[in-house]
Every structure is written in structure tokens, then in C-alpha cells.
């Protein structure tokens, strides 16, 4: 079940990045992809045990803590990339007044000539 959800998230994310015209929505699709990766790692780590990796008395069958730890790093990096991407999109919007990929590329090609 969880695997199916992750697959759907991944496919949605890729399709969103590729097919959607709005640049902000493209960035949002990247966020979806990143979340899918986070869920994938944490879910697959959780298959190995049944308790949280907090070693209070009696904890024995813990889940794999490594995926959780590295996903923290991945989440922060995802936030950073998203912030930079949004700042650039903001700047592009200020300059051209549009966030549509097609309009932007048309404007760029016209300006070239």
C-alpha cells in the first residue's frame, strides 16, 4: 500500500515537473518528488522493526535509524533548493510579469532576434 502511494507520488512529481506550464507548480512538483524520496527511505527503514529508535528501557526491536537520520539532511537540502528556486522564480516574475514557461521561452526567443 505504502509502496503504491510512493510510486504514485513519484509519477505525479515527474509528470508535474515535465508537463505543467507554471514554473511555481514545477517547483512544487520537485517538492513532491523530494517528499516521495523521504517517505520511501523512512518507510523502507520502518520495515525492519517495530519501535522508534529511542533507546529508553525495554526498546529492542527498533526500526533502522540511519534512513531517518539521512533524510533529515535531505529535508533541509530540499528546503534550501526550494527557497532558492522560488527566489529565482520571483525575480523572473518581477522582470517579465509571467511565470508561464511557454510565454517566457517565446519572449526569450523574440528578444534574441
Amino acid at each position: 500500500m505504502a509502496g503504491a502511494i510512493i510510486l504514485i507520488l513519484i509519477l505525479t512529481g515527474i509528470a508535474g515537473v515535465v508537463l505543467v506550464d507554471n514554473l511555481i507548480k514545477k517547483v512544487m512538483s520537485l517538492v513532491i518528488l523530494n517528499s516521495a524520496i523521504v517517505i520511501l527511505f523512512v518507510w523502507s527503514g520502518s520495515l525492519t522493526g517495530s519501535e522508534a529508535p529511542i533507546m529508553l528501557a525495554g526498546a529492542r526491536d527498533i526500526v533502522d535509524p540511519l534512513p531517518q537520520a539521512i533524510m533529515l539532511t535531505d529535508i533541509v537540502i530540499g528546503i534550501c533548493v526550494t527557497a532558492v528556486a522560488l527566489a529565482i522564480v520571483l525575480r523572473i516574475y518581477e522582470r517579465w510579469g509571467t511565470v508561464s514557461r511557454r510565454k517566457l521561452e517565446k519572449l526569450m526567443n523574440e528578444n534574441d532576434d
Binding site: 515527474i14 509528470a15 529508535p53
Partner: protein, 99 residues
């Protein structure tokens, strides 16, 4: 016309990707080895987990094993992560002109 072509191509590729991923990944999840000790030389995720649950607290002094890995065993990743944060903050400030 171009857009429809792109749409079809994307759907086709996504389907191919899904098939490839499922084909490769599903066998990995089909079974879980019962005996963790039998896994060989760092063969599977089970061994690292085993090590952390046995020695993690004593070695790092933290009850929260995620924190023990995040800041103890793999602190170098965390160092890189803070640098990414600093860079992107400086970058956002540069792009939005808020200085």
C-alpha cells in the same frame, strides 16, 4: 501538436520507468530474512541497525539514535547540510535584494 507529442512521450516514458522500477524493486521487498545474524559482510540494512541498537547509546551517549547518527556518526553530512543552508540563505537574500 508538439504538446500532444510531448504528452504521449512522457506518458510512455513514465510507464516504462514504472515498469522498470517495479520489476527491479518488488523482489527486494518480497521477503524479510528472519535471522539477522546470517547476513554476510554488511550485506543488508539489518546489520547496521543491529549494531546501532546494541552499541549506539553507549558509544554516543544519546538515547535518541537518530540524533546519535545525525550528529555523531554522520556529523559530516550535517556539516555539509548547514553549509547548504547558509549558501541558500545568502542566495535568497541576493535574489530578493533584501540586504
Amino acid at each position: 501538436m508538439k504538446r500532444i507529442l510531448l504528452l504521449c512521450l512522457t506518458c510512455l516514458l513514465l510507464a516504462a520507468l514504472a515498469v522498470l522500477v517495479l520489476d527491479a524493486v518488488v523482489p527486494l521487498f518480497r521477503s524479510r530474512p528472519a535471522n539477522t545474524e546470517s547476513a554476510g559482510n554488511w550485506g543488508a540494512p539489518y546489520q547496521l541497525r543491529e549494531y546501532f541498537s546494541l552499541h549506539g547509546v553507549a558509544e554516543s551517549g544519546a538515547l535518541n539514535l537518530v540524533a546519535a547518527i545525525y550528529l555523531g556518526y554522520r556529523a559530516f553530512d550535517t556539516l555539509g547540510e548547514t553549509i547548504v543552508l547558509v549558501i541558500s540563505v545568502a542566495g535568497v537574500l541576493l535574489f530578493t535584494g533584501a540586504r
